[in-house]
Amino acid sequence: MTENQNLQSQREGADYVRAMYRAMVQARVLENKLSSLYKAGKIVGGVYLGKGQEAVSAALGAALIPGRDIFAPLIRDQAGRRAFGEPFIDCARAYLGSALGPMKGRDGNIHRGRPQQGMLAMISHLGSALAVVTGALLAKRLQGQLPGAVGATCVGDGATSTGAFHEGLNMAAVEKLPLVVIVANNQFAYSTPNNRQFACEDLVDRAKGYGVTGHSVDGTDFLACAGVIGNAVSLARAGGGPQLVVAQLLRLTGHGEHDDGSYVPDAVKAGAYGRDCIDVAERQMLEFQIMSAEEIAAIRETAAIEVQAAVAQAQQEPTPDPYQEDWRAFSTEFSQPYH
């Protein structure tokens, strides 16, 4: 690598981690607001937060290229969604039940998506996005858009026990498609600990069995996430086939805001994965002079203003009107008045 290329690459790397950090803070500020709104009874339905998982999620979202790549976020990917370009208002509208949201009140919270723009709208059945992203990538291959694009999705440790996870990852491997699967192993699937979920020593060992490249990372280590997940996306983009990244971390909240997470032992909370990835990010960026304290403060301040504005806007918007709803599950207009 020439000196110029090296500088260029360093600059791109710095831009990438800055984008990650910005999305992480934006997600945290937004989610803290959602939590307050939930406790105040202002939310339609449940609230599911990604607190503690922002570094992993943002490292993926910031490595993807909107308009080219496919991203299927899951329950704890507020940060990845932001990094991929989802506006605050989509989230605010979905949680506050605005009729103007991406799902018009027909679905809510984390199920929102913009499939027209490559960000899929998740369903609750875990692992089912792997095959869907694989299909989008097969389409891209048939359309002559590969190599160059990737598809990515996030799951938790629990989803790795599903048949859909197995079928999807195996199919992506058979088709040699650039699917990046991030397993955020937050040690508990709702309340069920890893030892009731799987019996292998480490989930990343499964990569060999599927014939895909495996990566491990400490999901609380900001720069490590940037390095490992950024690299996995680059490998897939360059034609290296599916990538399985297993990140170890802890969710610093309940499964949803209705859950206090009391099943997580204090020793685990006090352990290595109990640290807050945003604290780690700030420390690392100051240490490596990627960002100054002033820049960090400015990002936090801007995020607070933007979140406040989005929430205020969504709160003033109309809610869905059953009398205006078209109640149509088909896009085709059949001659029969009802089906």
């Binding site: 799902m103 095959a131 694989t134 097969l138 859909a164």
Partner: protein
């Protein structure tokens, strides 16, 4: 020169692959081998990039189709047997079926389901799944009973923007022949009066259309009864207008289906006719379905499990004597 029902399915797929670069086929053993029933014979040679063998992963096959459809393609998934689509149930009813309502973006996938019983096929290679899928909002379910419908409805299914379960009957594959693929051009959502009559209406679909016509001919010869047979063609949308118009003429309804008796298409037909056309009925409407057990393996048991011309005649005699 004659074409069979399976020829029609193969021809439709060839036409679609030739005319539309968005179409691709994905299924087990469908490429070089040409499919378990040879519905894709020779297609991989012509379209090697768009006729692909799938791993034995029905859930992921359906998921892959959904993703590809969202990316602008028009996938056709071949389930080797309809029975195995139960593995893909989640992707079909939760992912594909909900997507348009949730997001405004339709999912144009076609899932081919080799359906229904044949002698000796047993409990896991004989099922009729149409009612399960039709139950879910957002899924079109078609059940062609003729060679021409097998052709035109597969082409139409792929052109529709919504997910379609294309239920093709295995019993008809090689037994049912026609002079050409040319049909009457009825669209999905419209039933057909297969046989005119004035004393009773049999509403049915798929292979049972042919059993009902046999029964009608027998009754005409035996006792001069004129039985009308309505072929639903698609069970969702359900053309209840054509059914009601027929019942208005005959005053009597027998709904026949090969599927299990609890709920299902025949129950739906009867309940709609009772609700919307009670005043038209001169006798209580009847249903005839398979027996309420898994589909048996032995041909003698199997033949007594499904409706037959004999059992349809028995039901009709009862209906006509009321």
């Amino acid at each position: 020169m004659s074409v069979t029902y399976i020829d029609a399915i193969r021809e439709a797929q060839e036409t679609l692959l030739r005319d539309d670069p968005r179409v691709f086929l994905y299924g087990q053993d469908i490429a070089a081998f040409g499919g378990a029933f040879k519905a894709t014979k020779g297609l991989a040679e012509q379209f090697p990039e768009r006729v692909l063998d799938a791993p034995i992963s029905e859930d992921a096959m359906a998921g892959l189709a959904i993703g590809a459809a969202l990316q602008g393609m028009r996938p056709i998934i071949e389930m080797q047997f309809a029975d195995f689509s139960s593995i893909a149930f989640n992707q079909i009813v939760n992912h594909a079926a909900t997507h348009f309502y949730r997001t405004g973006m339709p999912v144009p996938i076609t899932v081919r389901l080799p359906s229904g019983g044949t002698a000796g096929s047993g409990p896991f290679h004989s099922q009729s799944m149409e009612a399960l899928y039709a139950h879910y909002p957002g899924v079109v379910v078609v059940t062609p009973a003729t060679v021409a419908d097998a052709y035109s409805m597969l082409i139409e299914s792929v052109k529709l923007d919504d997910p379609v379960m294309y239920c093709e009957h295995k019993f008809l594959y090689r037994w049912l022949k026609a002079k050409s693929l040319q049909g009457d051009g009825l669209p999905i959502g419209r039933a057909r009066i297969t046989r005119m009559g004035r004393h009773a209406t049999v509403v049915t679909y798929s292979a049972m259309v042919h059993e009902a016509v046999r029964a009608a001919e027998r009754l005409q010869q035996e006792s001069g009864w004129e039985i009308e047979v309505v072929d639903l063609r698609s069970v969702k949308p359900l053309d209840i207008d054509t059914v009601l118009a027929s019942v208005a003429r005959t005053g009597r309804l027998l709904a026949v289906g090969e599927a299990f008796p609890w709920g299902g298409v025949t129950a739906e037909v009867v309940s709609r006719v009772v609700a919307d056309g009670f005043h038209l009925l001169e006798a209580p409407p009847m249903r005839l379905n398979s027996r309420d057990t898994p589909v048996p393996y032995h041909p003698k048991l199997w033949a007594a499990h499904r409706p037959t011309p004999e059992s349809i005649c028995d039901s009709l005699r009862k209906l006509l004597s009321y």
